[in-house]
Amino acid sequence: MRGRLTRRTRRAGLNLLGLLVALVTLFPIFWMVSTAFKPATEWYTLNPHPLPAHPTLSNFRAVLDGSVIGLPYWNFLKNSLFVTLVSVLASSLMALLAAVAVARFRFRFRTTYLIMLLIVQMLPMQALVISLFIDFRSLNLLDSLVGLILAYTAWALPVTIWMLRNFVAAVPRELEEAAAIDGAGPVRVFWRILLPLVAPGLVATSVFAFVFAYNEFIFALSFLGADTAKFTLPIYVQYFYGRNGADWGAIMAASTLFTVPVMVFFLLVQRRLRAGLVAGAVKG
């Protein structure tokens, strides 16, 4: 009797703890969204309330139609999506090829290449932004989204190759050999055997590259200069906050619009993402 009670209380206690953790973790996000719907009289108050008493869409409207910064939100979303999607595509493609090379072949500089990949992941972006800035300047790539795409692709590659090679290595060679014996050429083996099995890994690495490029700040800050029309979303949100220090409703609305897509994305792929990232990162 006593044992069961203790177990139930323990279970209840753990659930309570879990709930507490969830609430504390959720609070900042909740507060962001709640503030975004509050009119100025409610967030500039001495006694904050969790929910808006008179929810309003005016903050979102101000952000979307650009009355605060002069350009509508869609402009920056367009820039961000363009940069992100192209760099994800480019880096996934190149990373897959490299992962195949590293996982399936033995060649002379293989270990050197792998060590290089490891070390390159440790190089701090805020250090290399200096020489990249000077290089891009002479290549006329400043104030240009193309420059950002190149930088993001290059920076996403080492991690995505590293993660992908585990997935490629996990595909049993016997499957490929069997297919080859059956008469399939290398392209066919790639398409029909390898690609479907590596797909979860590709999803994981694409998500990583997407999130990296979508959220990236230092390079965008340094390479885009003062041309607000070319800003990506992170720079837009920061610029917005920096210029309008007190308009918290609008700042939170901008932040919500920026953040919600990523969150939804993460929630949708979280199971696969967790498996992929854990497999890739934890295995070393």
Partner: protein, 336 residues
């Protein structure tokens, strides 16, 4: 799922029976040539290697080179040549009080952030392993939301939470009873105008966004531990604390090593959050090393040479730390 492949004489069959080079199309000849020279892997690597070499490796070399030069606006515009100053930039750094201040801030903040993140993440991971399926899914989904929050958003949210006018944190602290440290003196407290409160805010922010990754990794590692080990520990009379340190931790050590090193790398190099929380570049006494590098390079008058020297120091520090990671990875057989 393996898809069946239809039986069909493929290229292999075509090539198998013919003498080399006899009547083959260019494509097939190239394929043989690649196979003979074992060029396939190099060709596959070429695109990624070229991109990384051009945009990561070469700029690293440039940083090293610039650090020995005098490189300012005139040199950038091409109106004056760069001058070799040898170790001049480096000796200037050693005598620069702002360098030591920013270095100290970087080191101390990383020294606090990393253990805190690991501890919180591990505790949440342990909690998740004990919760029922639905509760665990709920908690981990919420944690994923925190993990998914971009650095920029998280930073403006935390600044808003901690703002003196209308921020929740100050309001909450004024309501806390005295014996918990609360009270009216917290009203209007500014968290961003001195290094200690600002970095406390940054630490809270980084822990909030980073603990889910730790928790998920720890959870995965915990799930891999056979339950018999915990059972036998319990039978032997070990409580949860002992059970953790004697059974769980040793098995999770490789995971912890990776997580520790990754955390150190990320937390030492934290930039975006600090940039936003200290209000761009106006508070020199709150710079960490990364911000100081950026300020030296991009505030007028720009000093790219000196900034490169600072950047090189930052890079070396990070590389020294990560040598440990590389060596551990090699030992764990990650390069197989």
């Amino acid at each position: 799922m393996v898809k069946t492949i239809e039986r069909r004489p493929g290229r292999l069959g075509v090539l198998a029976g013919r003498p080399a080079g006899a009547g083959l199309a260019v494509r097939q000849r190239t394929a043989i040539w690649i196979r003979r020279r074992r060029l396939a892997p190099y060709l596959l690597l070429l695109p990624s290697l070229a991109v990384v070499a051009a945009l990561v490796l070469w700029p690293t070399v440039q940083i090293a080179v610039f650090s020995f030069q005098n490189y300012g606006l005139a040199q950038l515009a091409g109106t004056a040549p760069t001058q070799w100053v040898g170790l001049g930039n480096y000796s200037q750094i050693l005598h620069d009080p702002e360098f030591w201040l920013s270095l100290r801030l970087s080191v101390i903040s990383a020294a606090v952030m990393v253990p805190l993140t690991l501890a919180v993440g591990t505790l949440v991971g342990l909690l998740l392993s004990r919760l029922g399926r639905r509760m665990a899914a709920f908690v981990s989904s919420v944690s994923v939301l925190a993990w998914a929050t971009p650095a920029v958003s998280a930073s403006v949210i935390f600044v808003w939470l901690a703002t003196p006018d209308g921020g929740v944190v100050d309001w909450f602290l004024t309501k806390l009873p005295h014996w918990l440290g609360g009270g009216a003196h917290w009203a209007g407290f500014s968290w961003t105008n001195a290094a200690l409160p600002a970095y406390t805010l940054v630490t809270a922010l980084v822990v909030w966004t980073s603990f889910p990754f730790i928790a998920v990794s720890v959870l995965a590692g915990l799930r891999a531990i056979p339950p018999e080990l915990h059972e036998s520990a319990r039978v032997d009379g070990a409580g949860p604390w002992r059970s953790f340190w004697r059974v769980t931790y040793p098995l999770l050590r490789p995971i912890f090593r990776v997580l520790f090193l990754l955390s150190v790398i990320w937390d030492f190099g934290v930039f975006t959050q600090v940039y936003i929380i200290i209000g761009e570049l106006g508070q020199r006494d709150e710079y960490n090393l990364g911000i100081y590098v950026y300020a030296t390079a991009f505030q007028l008058p720009p000093a790219y040479g000196q900034a490169s020297a600072l950047a090189f120091v930052l890079t070396i520090i990070l590389l020294v730390i990560t040598v440990g990671y590389v060596r551990a990875s090699v030992k764990e057989g990650a390069l197989q």
